[in-house]
Symmetry: C2
Subunit: 148 residues, 2 copies
DNA sequence: ATTTTGTCTACCAAATCTATAGATTATATG
DNA sequence: CATATAATCTATAGATTTGGTAGACAAAAT
């Protein structure tokens, strides 16, 4: 599940990517992107602490990307704000934690599928950069094509 | 995110699949599978209402699969218990709902990636049946292979 | 020194998750 | 019919997470 926090975070980074290097203030992002300013405060701070953004205080300050847009993946942003991508902790590759009720981690069928799911999610999010997303054709295909 | 509810639900269905047609009582599932009985009560009821399980009251009663195990997918179970697979409502194909803060659904980049994610998740869960999972070799590959 | 802008600490309301308790209803069997 | 069995329904409740808000503080530019 993608929280509002992560959604705002992605949108904010996407917005920042438009201003190569030039600092943008929180207030400007909040207004143009339609997000609560104070909430965005905390989000941008987390992204800064994760090394995705850079900040500058005082007049003329604001936030910028800490890396080129093609080096920042959506996966990094989501992980920084929502934690591991895996649907369940025992299926996480970077933050594994066994279930309390599980007798055998290795034989758990639920874990087996959820590992596949986590890999499928990571395959998408870790291979989509902010730059990719910005230049993507987002033509929405008719829903019927995908309904099985 | 997979809730405990859905995890218990999958495990319970998997367990039921071992007893072709023969009713199994909630208490028996709860004990052998290490789940809170009363919680499981509610879960099995939901799965019954979703047409995945069948129940029989009274002596000799219990729960059975309502369909052959190869006709029940993990996707069905998860949807019945946790709702839509999509990470965000605007990216759901069966339960679409636009975001409050979104100005243009069609042009939203977040939605575009999340649609891909939802398809990736569904591809796994809708193509894995209870039967598949039961007979799967669940050898766990070394984690390193998948770390990119 | 003052203004601007990010940073930090605390707090809070609402929703969701994870159950639990207890009464009730249907079914099989003697 | 009486009884035991097992699912079902209703109600409630604690814990955690989500989605914020308020206000003081710190750094930088002018």
């Amino acid at each position: 599940m993608l929280s509002n926090k992560a959604k705002y975070g992605i949108k904010a980074v996407l917005y920042l990517a438009q201003f190569e290097g030039e600092p943008v203030q929180i207030a400007a992002i909040a207004e143009t992107q339609n997000m609560p300013k104070k909430f965005l405060d905390a989000i941008l701070l987390e992204l800064r602490n994760a090394g995705i953004l850079r900040s500058k205080k005082g007049k003329g300050g604001g936030y910028t990307l800490a890396l080129p847009a093609r080096k920042i993946t959506i996966g990094q942003i989501v992980r920084a704000l929502d934690g591991p991508l895996a649907p369940i902790a025992c299926a996480s590759r970077n933050a594994f934690r066994p279930c309390d009720d599980c007798t055998s981690v290795d034989l758990c069928e639920v874990r087996a599928v959820m590992l596949e799911v986590r890999d499928a999610i990571a395959a998408v999010l870790d291979h989509t950069s902010v730059d990719d997303l910005r230049h993507r054709r987002h033509q929405v295909e008719p829903l019927l094509i995908y309904d099985i």
